[in-house]
Assembly symmetry: C2
Homo-oligomer: 332 residues x 2
């Protein structure tokens, strides 16, 4: 405890504290005790929990995103794990490590983004912790939802189709641009800065009992399909032609193979990937698209074996390297 | 995303991942889905949740504690928030920010300590996230428990007695020694490095319906009594003579006033502080001490007014500065 970090009564973040328990928010069902006591208390049949830590310089840079966007994106990434089991979001607990060189205003801006992501998903801030750090900004988000009948990673069966929501590779294109020292196009930047956790889409699909297994795409489709295959002891065969490419990929000058590679390994698209019995999804796909304005695309199938394979445009099938986007990290 | 932080298949922490889902642990009631999927799923009537972030250089230093002790202490501190609402621990989700200069062995050592704290409290590791950071070590722990009838901060009534478990000031003595460049005595060091979250004690008291309001002592009794007073719109009067001093305080050469001051403001003792109707606790105190081998001491009473006051040995009553131990921090 460096002496310079000791403080008098109250602490500099007391104003932020009052901001956390925002008046006027609609409290979703299941919150028995909100922020302000030693614990929040939630009720529900099957409480889903996950945590996701975002660190400046590893997951984002402040040259790329505003503080409000950092708060939004960190929270949206965590909420995507609730979508990945088809849970209904209840809320989040958010820990902020604020660098010593920053003012409390940084915490306030981050919190604006946290609230925006929770508003989008239908949850509230249940609690948290704000502390100083001598290092980079840290945002750790623990999300809380209700999943009466969770859809897990384990249920894929040989013969199932593999589907994804939305388009892939947008966030990867933005990242590639920033790392090359250029500014990404608006669409790609938005894919990275403002992903929408697919909580409503996942619940819509779960209510119709369409899915045998479900995961969100946070490491890239290649990596997350590998998780699905491993969890069920099966193989997954992807169709290169079928991968739904983000518009930003189509706008690139690179050869088509590069676009598909980025879509498979770019990571952090936060779309859904699920397996479903043959023919079940086709009939409902138009209604899904109408309801959510999000694409739904069959990208492959579940076969006997292990690992993830890709069938290219010339009909050849080759094993896919399982490496998705990695931050020196493991999540469990 | 610094290029040096990108990794190939698997990631360096994959071994740790397998360690997290430790075989042979006794899974407590209420865990429907453990680690390994996108979310853990717990069930129970009233799920209590809290989060607590510990940062190297702010909450601890590596010269003071081993990695295993850092993992233990960070988890015990978070579990103390479950004790503070009389919840039964179910488990924790733990996010680790591992400095780039450290090996995965650091994560393994931290996790040993996390498991030890969970074993003490009766919970299991439900999930987490490990990432690299260019800054100091960060351990963020989200705890999960069942609190069917939580005891909150708000229930104190004028006329109640105020009680604390254990003794106070031990962790503060250790901190003072380290900050002065000396090594603390064993007893004081243990108070800082190995606090026992009072989850069993809190549940014992709650089952006997002894408490009107409850908090854990993480900011120092002065600060936490202030929280209780504010939450109920009452004042609290402490008896200077009654404060149970940690043995390490008795061993100091300082005047008695300094010992009492450290016991009131030292912070991070993680004992319980609760208000109870007059006379209810006395009858059960011997049984409590026999059962838990932890002291139970009446330290004051709830009166009309606001704030926290202290009655000194000469009978004078003065307002107590509310500043407890602060890390530039707010928790909510």
């Amino acid at each position: 405890v460096p002496p310079g970090l000791a403080l008098g009564p109250g602490g500099e973040f007391d104003l932020i504290r009052s901001f956390f328990g925002r008046d006027g928010s609609v409290v979703p069902p299941g919150v028995r005790v909100g922020p302000g006591d030693d614990c929040a208390i939630v009720v529900g049949d099957g409480i889903a929990l996950s945590t996701d830590m975002s660190v400046e310089g590893v997951h984002f840079r402040r040259e790329w995103l505003s503080a409000e966007e950092i708060g939004y994106r960190s929270t949206a990434a965590a909420l995507s794990d609730l979508a990945a089991v088809a849970a209904r979001p209840i809320g989040a607990l958010v820990s902020l490590g604020i660098p010593v060189g920053d003012t409390p205003e940084l915490a306030r801006q981050l919190t604006l983004g946290v609230h925006r992501a929770l508003d989008v998903a239908g949850g509230v801030l249940l609690g948290g912790d704000i502390t100083r750090t001598t290092g980079p900004l840290v945002v750790d988000v623990a999300v809380v939802g209700e999943a009466t009948v969770p859809v897990l990673r384990t249920g894929s069966r040989v013969g199932d189709e593999l589907w994804v929501t939305g388009t892939l590779g947008g966030a990867g294109v933005a990242l590639r641009a920033w790392l090359a020292g250029t500014e990404p196009a608006d669409q790609a930047r938005a894919a990275f800065a403002a992903p929408v956790p697919r909580v409503r889409e996942a619940r819509w699909l779960a209510e119709r009992e369409l899915m045998n297994a479900l995961i969100d795409i946070s490491d890239g489709l290649a990596g997350d399909a590998t998780h699905l295959a491993f969890a069920a002891g099966v193989a997954i065969e992807l169709e290169a032609d079928a991968i739904p490419l983000h518009p930003a990929l189509a706008a690139m000058a690179d050869p088509p193979e590069t676009a598909v590679h980025l879509a498979l390994t770019g990571g952090e698209d936060f779309e859904l990937c699920f397996s479903a019995p043959v023919g079940r999804v086709d009939a409902l796909e138009p209604e899904f698209v109408r309801e959510h304005a999000v694409a739904l695309t069959r990208v492959g199938r579940v076969v006997e074996g292990q690992g993830v394979w890709i069938r290219d445009t010339r009909g050849g099938v080759r094993p896919l390297a399982t490496a998705g986007y990695q931050h020196f990290e493991t999540s469990f």
